[in-house]
Symmetry: C2
Subunit: 317 residues, 2 copies
């Protein structure tokens, strides 16, 4: 009996503010094909959400569709209310929303999570988290996770539940300061190649800022240039190190992590590496990210929601 | 003997990045007339520095001209090297630069100050500081000064010298986040009238952030809106309170001020009031700013430099 081509079971969409990714998945969440388009919810093609969906799943079979991310936000296709902490995957499944496309596809939408103790929200990261817990079940018991990005999420998991999280706007702060403040003066639009020395220098300055915090040192990115102590092309990575370093300093000072508990990184490998480099200044251990958390999270949620008919049934149809 | 019209003695220019102010001054630094134009060094009229100077001093008598601020920076009319700390007014006088305009006026330029212990620089504020010390001589002995702004300066004075200072980019950070991040989403370009409750709420949140610092709470400006706990029009002042509060929290945590030493505010009265309101959350005393520090600082420096002939000589000419 020869091995057959895996049968597609689910279309998963990771649909954020700036981009759209689609996964055609087979049994167990195996990604058979993936596609990426620049059609984030603020950058939709003509025809809007419907056109974006039809465009990215073109020629894929008619399968259940599950989407996570900003597509379910107020400014998205349809708003799906947040699930409050502590949140299990089952609570997320119960709160799934849906919207029907003009072409007749039903798109199920993953809700975001809401922290009511300190006002905070996430959309999309919950899916990556449940994917990471499936990839590395040891994390489900008790773990501290870090999902770096435009809006970094610091997450605590206990017994399979997301019990706490906090957002640091580090990525967006970097972009705002780099491109819309004096700190970027004289620099071109594109960042030069990664300058690890400048990055570490920034991270160390954040660490050394102590309880005062690195906000008081932002202007040093400029002053060091004016006084000839920092080369202009080194500014972006110095600033990046200062801001990521501040994110780490702040999390340690606030007791969100301690240096004896390694932090599990989840997300973009290049950005995660940057965080791991900064962590070395703080003697903070970070585990590099597992691959495929977002897609597997979609699979896990879809399976728990019963969106796919059981394998046996599929065979019979 | 009737009182004569005061004789003009000096033209002082406060020439920054975004604006230009000119003072026609009589004996003792008394301002006889002042003018303001939007001709900052990045917003010069056609004809550049020469045209801006000729335009703003038009029909004023031919007098010594002294200018402070970014006009003496690398991107200004002529760069004047910084004076290193600790800095007296005499050290500033020795380091004055000058440039001659096409129309034949010599413009003397006040140098900025440079902190070499922690890389930092100022240009323009040194003049306001020396003006404030002349207005309130009690400050010269030992004082802590705060000049809020795009780039706030925290300054320590001892025996008439500027012995230390640090910059907080609070104003520029506010603008970058308000206009170039998700925090300003849905808001118009103009800020609504001052919402003191929202401002205080932000300042208190910064205070309560403790050693973690308020950078970790930036996203709350957005999350509180999404969860219905903050009205959208309240966001600008909540954010302003959070950032100014963080500036104060950080300065206290870093030992830059202590709650037993009142801080002397210098500068824009509206902005200074905002700082005084935030200070009430920290039980930190702040003295409201004296008027006319910038103009009087120019007078003090010009007099120490001997730019004006002595009064007696003027009478004889």
């Amino acid at each position: 009996m020869k091995e057959s081509t895996p049968r597609p079971r689910l279309i998963g969409l990771d649909w954020g503010t700036t981009g759209l990714r689609a996964y055609l998945m087979g049994e167990g969440g195996r990604v058979l094909e993936s596609r990426e388009r620049p059609w984030g919810i603020r950058h939709l093609p003509a025809g809007g959400f419907d056109a974006a969906l039809d465009g990215i799943v073109a020629d894929w079979p008619d399968l259940p569709v599950l989407a996570s991310g900003m597509v379910g936000s107020r400014g998205g296709w349809r708003e799906v209310p947040y699930v409050e902490l502590p949140a299990t995957i089952d609570a997320v499944v119960v709160a799934l929303g849906s919207v029907d496309s003009v072409s007749g596809r039903r798109v199920h939408l993953v809700p975001g999570l809401r922290n009511t103790v300190v006002a905070d929200v996430m959309r999309g990261e919950e899916t990556e988290i449940f994917g990471a817990l499936a990839l590395q079940p040891v994390l489900a018991g008790r773990s501290a996770l870090l999902l770096p990005g435009t809006h970094s999420k610091w997450v605590n998991v206990l017994h399979g539940r997301v019990v706490d999280f906090a957002t640091a706007m580090t990525g967006e702060l970097y972009t705002a300061l780099r491109h819309h403040s004096i700190l970027g003066a004289g620099l071109g639009k594109d960042d030069p190649p990664f300058d690890q020395d400048a990055f570490l220098r920034g991270a160390q300055s954040a660490r050394d800022s102590g309880a005062g915090g690195a906000l008081s040192r932002l202007f040093s990115s400029r002053a060091l240039v004016l006084t000839g102590e920092l080369a202009l092309p080194a500014v972006p990575d110095y600033l990046s190190g200062l801001l990521i370093g501040e994110e780490l300093r702040s999390a340690i000072a606030a007791g969100r992590v301690n240096t004896s508990t390694p932090l599990q990184l989840i997300g973009n490998p290049v950005l995660c590496r940057r965080y791991a480099v900064a962590a070395s200044c703080f003697e903070l251990g970070m585990a590099l990210p597992p691959r495929g958390a977002a897609a597997l999270g979609l699979w896990q949620i879809a399976r728990a929601a019963g969106l796919m008919p059981e394998s046996g049934q599929v065979g019979r149809s």
